[in-house]
Symmetry: C2
Amino acid sequence: MKIIQYQSAVHSVKKENLIQLEKFLDRVAGEQADLIMVGEMFACPYDINNFLAYSEPQGGETFKFLSGLARKHRVYLAAGTVPEIDAEGKVYNTAYVFDRNGELAGKHRKVHLFDIDIPGGQYFKESTILSPGEQVTVFDSEFGKIGLCICFDIRFNEMFRIMTNLGARIILIPAAFNTTTGPIHWQLLLQARALDNQCFVAATSPARNKNASYQAWGHSLVVNPWGKIIGELDELPGHLTSRVDFQEVESVREQLPVVSNLRSDLYEVVYKPPV
Amino acid sequence: MKIIQYQSAVHSVKKENLIQLEKFLDRVAGEQADLIMVGEMFACPYDINNFLAYSEPQGGETFKFLSGLARKHRVYLAAGTVPEIDAEGKVYNTAYVFDRNGELAGKHRKVHLFDIDIPGGQYFKESTILSPGEQVTVFDSEFGKIGLCICFDIRFNEMFRIMTNLGARIILIPAAFNTTTGPIHWQLLLQARALDNQCFVAATSPARNKNASYQAWGHSLVVNPWGKIIGELDELPGHLTSRVDFQEVESVREQLPVVSNLRSDLYEVVYKPPV
C-alpha cells in the first residue's frame, strides 16, 4: 500500500484549498499512490469562528468535489476533515474517506472535542461550537480494515483499542496539533498508539502558517507496528510518500505478543455505540 | 513526596543483594526520602532457571528482611520484585511495598508474563515457569493512592486506565527491559502512560550486567503528568532522587482535560477482578 500524505498550506478561501488539492493530485498522478491523505480542516482555517461559516451537509459541494477527485484518480482519498452540518444545524468536525470509485468508504465525526487552556500557551475551545461524534470508526478497503479518527481523539487510547479489536491494521488520523503540545506530545502519542496496538499509524497535519491564529505543528508522519517513525515532514508545506505492508502487523504481533496477550478475563475495553 | 530509585547491580547470591540494599538505605538515610524503590528481580538474576530456586512464600525470610528495613528507616519501601511461591507451588513475579511501619501496604503479582521471540534479538519465555497475577493494584498511602505494576504490564494501557480510575496519582513500576526493546520502547511507553493518564510514573530497573544472560536496560526514570521525563539514569548502578507534587496531577488535568473527558457513554475499560 503506497500512501502519500499532503501537508498543505490552508488558505482562507475554501475553494482555493480544493483547487490546490486538485492540482496536487494531478501532479502526483504518476506515482500510483493507493491512498492520498490530507490534514484536519485543510480547507477551513482552524478557528472556532470559521466552522459554521465553512460547514456543508454531507453530499454538499465540497463532498462532491472530493468524491470526484478520488474517482478521477482511481485512488483512496482520505480527505482530511471538513466542518459538516447536519439537518438539525449541528456542526461536526468530520473526516470523509472516498474509495477509488468516489464512493464514501468511511466517515468519522471527531468524538473528543479539543478544549485546552494552558497558562501562557494554547487556548482553544472547540466544544463551544462543535458537537461530538458518537462512534468509533473502522471501514473496509481492498487492503483490509482501516481505522479513522481525528486529532484530539489521539489522546484516548480506548478508541485505538476498539479500532484494533475491530480489525484495523492501519489508523488514519487527520490532525492539527499546535506549537505548545506538538513538540512534546505529537510523536510520543502517535508512536505509542502504533506500538500499543501493533499497527500502522498515519497522521496528517496542515502545514504551519505563521500568520494564522492557530499555528498547526505540521510534522505529518507514519509509524510502523514496532513504534518506529518511518517517515516524517517538518512544519512546511510538502508531501510524504510511504509504503506500508500489513504483513508487518502480523510479524510484530508474533514476535512480541501484546495484542494477543490482552487479559480480557481481567479487563476489557467495552464499546457502546448508540443504537 | 521525595523518591529515591536505587538501580542496583544484581548479584547471584540472594543475600548479597539484600545486604547491598541495607547498606544503601543506611547511606541515604540523611536524605529523608519518603519512598525508596528498587528494580524487578533485584535479588535474583533475571533468568527463568532462577525463579523457582530463589522463590519464597509471602512472609518468608526476604519479606521479613525488607519489612524490617522499611520500619528501621521509617520509609515506604517499594521493594522491586521477588519470586513468590504460593501454597500450591505456583511461582509469581511479585512486587511488595512496605509502609513506614514495615507493614505490607501494597502487593502486585505480574499480570502479563514476558514472552518475546525476536529473530536475532531477545528470546525469553516467562510463562514457562511463572503464573500470572489476577488483579490490578492500587494501594493507599499518606500521600494518596499509588498504583503498582511490573515490567511487561507496561504494554497494556487498560491496566493504567484502571489504576487511574481507582485514583492512582503515581504509578510505580519495577521493571527490567532489555537491550532490544529498551532503546526504542522504554521511554516511549513510560512517557505515554503518564501523559495518557495525567499522572506520575516512576520506573526502576536493575543496572545492566554485561556478563548476565539477560541484560537489563537500566535507565530508571520518573515522568511527570505532562509526559516529560524529570529524571533518568543511564545503564550503570546508581540512584536517582526526585521530588513529585501530586498537585501537578490536578493542574495538568485542568489545563488539558483528557482524564475528565473520557467518553464513558461510548466506551469504557471494565475491570473484572476475580471474586
